[in-house]
């Protein structure tokens, strides 16, 4: 395994509804934790990268403002955006800068304050992360796009509503023990029963996606501090190395998508590239974080990552193989579904979870057996951008 670029510090704010502060203060929460985790000061940092999806808060060009607030001037700083996978893209750029020898230490900070706008405005913003010329005029939104995939899976792959529900029950199991999660409540099958009038998860959003199939909007920030081998050895007690990075993109318009029953092409593309770079296969991964913005998205990710064959992702959740004790634990921090999905902060938060797992510091979420290889799968838009990052000890 190449030990060129390491994660030396991780941080994350609580993921909450209605953060009582500005984006500067929100960014500070993750930054402070990551800096203390790394045991470094701002003088050690060569550059910073800020990541979010635009149009949630009013600040244009947030990198300069946030760099100043975090004490990271006069070092260079800039902004990276791929909607929901923005901070994974930021880490890819930070990795490249270190590998190229431009800087020794780079801070990657993802943030999103979604609560400044209403839920329907948020749906409209996310819808406009797809094709605004040819699709948004029909009234599209993220749940509807993912529902197109869910419908095809149900018709052609034998996926059931119960399978999707079981993904959410797993997420809720771990959301309950993750003190940073926005959704801490337990969920039971009766909550999805349409015959139960108190069933808070059963209502249709974009059929076949129900309330309980959708992730929780949240305000939050995440911070990943990267360093070259020399600095990693100097600063970090337990450096976690980046072994592989893969990326892919896909046509924005649904009319240009391949077979919907085959899932998101970017999941397959990004995974193949990352596995090749890391020199491993899916069987070597001991713990994974996947992009479960909707329950169907987690099932598609199992297939794209090679944890299950195409069309057979449902078998993994049926056998509970993606629970902490299973063959391949997935989203044992509650995932986007329960931990929450503050868009620009999500990838960094997933990476923080994997780094803590590999350092054996994940507390009640710790996967047994001292995992040595972990994977982060982060998707932007409706499979518009795909990112897979593999970490090792």
């Amino acid at each position: 395994m190449a030990k060129d670029v390491a994660v030396i510090g991780v941080g994350q704010s609580n993921f909450v509804r209605g953060y009582e502060g500005s984006i500067r203060e929100l960014a500070f929460e993750a930054f402070r934790e990551a800096m203390q985790d790394a045991g470094i000061t701002q003088k050690d940092v060569g550059a910073s990268i800020f990541c979010s999806a635009p149009e949630y808060d009013k600040q244009r060009s947030p990198a300069g403002v946030l760099a100043e607030y975090l004490g990271l001037i006069p070092q260079p700083t800039f902004y990276i955006e791929t909607v929901c996978s923005s901070s994974s893209s930021g880490v890819k750029v930070g990795y490249s800068m270190i590998k190229a020898g431009l800087h020794d230490v780079v801070v990657v900070l993802g943030f999103q304050k979604m609560s400044e706008i209403t839920s329907s405005e948020s749906q409209e913003r996310m819808g406009r992360g797809a094709d605004i010329q040819w699709e948004a005029p029909f009234g599209t939104m993220m749940p509807a796009y993912y529902a197109l995939y869910a419908q095809a899976y149900m018709a052609k792959n034998g996926l059931t509503h119960e399978d999707m529900m079981n993904v959410r029950l797993k997420s809720a199991t771990y959301g309950q023990v993750n003190e940073r999660a926005v959704y801490r409540k337990g969920i039971k099958a009766a909550d999805f029963d349409p015959n139960n009038k108190d069933a808070k998860m059963a209502g249709p959003v974009a059929w076949p996606i129900r309330v309980g199939d959708a992730c929780a909007n949240a305000d939050g920030s995440s911070c990943i501090i990267l360093a070259n081998a020399e600095k990693a050895k100097a600063f970090a007690k337990k450096p976690v190395w980046i072994m592989g990075i893969g990326g892919a993109s896909e046509a924005v318009n649904m009319a240009a998508r391949p077979d919907f029953a085959k899932g998101l092409s970017v999941g397959y593309g990004a995974a193949a590239e990352a596995y090749k770079m890391a020199g491993i296969t899916a069987n070597d991964v001991k713990v994974a974080e996947v992009h479960d913005c909707f329950t169907i998205a987690e099932l598609m990710a199992y297939e794209g990552l090679g944890f299950a064959k195409m069309g057979e992702g449902k078998e993994l959740i049926r056998a509970k193989e993606t629970y902490k004790e299973g063959k391949i634990p997935v989203n044992v921090d509650g995932g986007l579904l329960s931990k929450g999905h503050p868009i620009g902060a999500t990838g960094g938060s997933q990476m923080r979870t994997i780094v803590l797992q590999l350092r054996d510091e994940a507390g009640p979420m710790q996967v047994p057996g001292n995992p040595d290889i972990g994977l982060v799968h982060n998707v932007g838009g409706v499979g518009l951008y795909g990112s897979v990052t593999i970490f090792g000890r």
Binding site: T118, S120, W134, A155, K156, P208, N253, M254, A255, F260
Partner: protein, 137 residues
């Protein structure tokens, strides 16, 4: 007509493909085809990404296809609040072309199924907006 007339609510005012809306007004749903390499596009494009040509012509979309997938929205984004429930889907014409649109309200939601035979037609809204929709074949 300007492209701001397209769909329930347009987010694009100016595009070289605005003729698409005029064609809808004439009852035609058309894509574009590259005169240099023959690549066909729907939704239409004014430039060919296959050969980088800018020489494009309009062609009539097929009318017989199958419904590859669909979803019914019970909740709408900002600006579409009056519309739910509405169903959107993807038509596969089985010749390399697909199309995304709403399904006609004339089709009962319970009758909609993956694989059903469908067609397409232009659609005028009461407020003067113009679009196209998926109908039963």
């Amino acid at each position: 007509m300007g492209f701001d007339k397209f769909g329930r609510k347009s987010f694009t005012a100016i595009t070289k493909t605005a003729k698409f809306v005029d064609l809808l007004g004439e009852g035609k749903i058309e894509g574009t085809v590259c005169t240099k390499c023959g690549a066909k596009y729907f939704p239409p494009r004014s430039d060919c990404s296959a050969c980088l040509s800018k020489e494009m012509e309009w062609f009539a979309m097929p009318t017989k296809g199958t419904l590859e997938t669909f979803t019914t929205a019970y909740y709408a984004p900002f600006g579409f609040e009056a519309d739910p429930p509405y169903t959107m889907g993807v038509v596969d014409f089985n010749d390399g072309l697909k199309l995304f649109a709403r399904l006609s309200k004339a089709i009962p939601i319970a009758d909609i199924a993956v694989g059903m035979n469908v067609s397409i037609q232009p659609l005028k809204y009461d407020d003067g907006q113009i679009s196209f929709e998926i109908i039963k074949a």
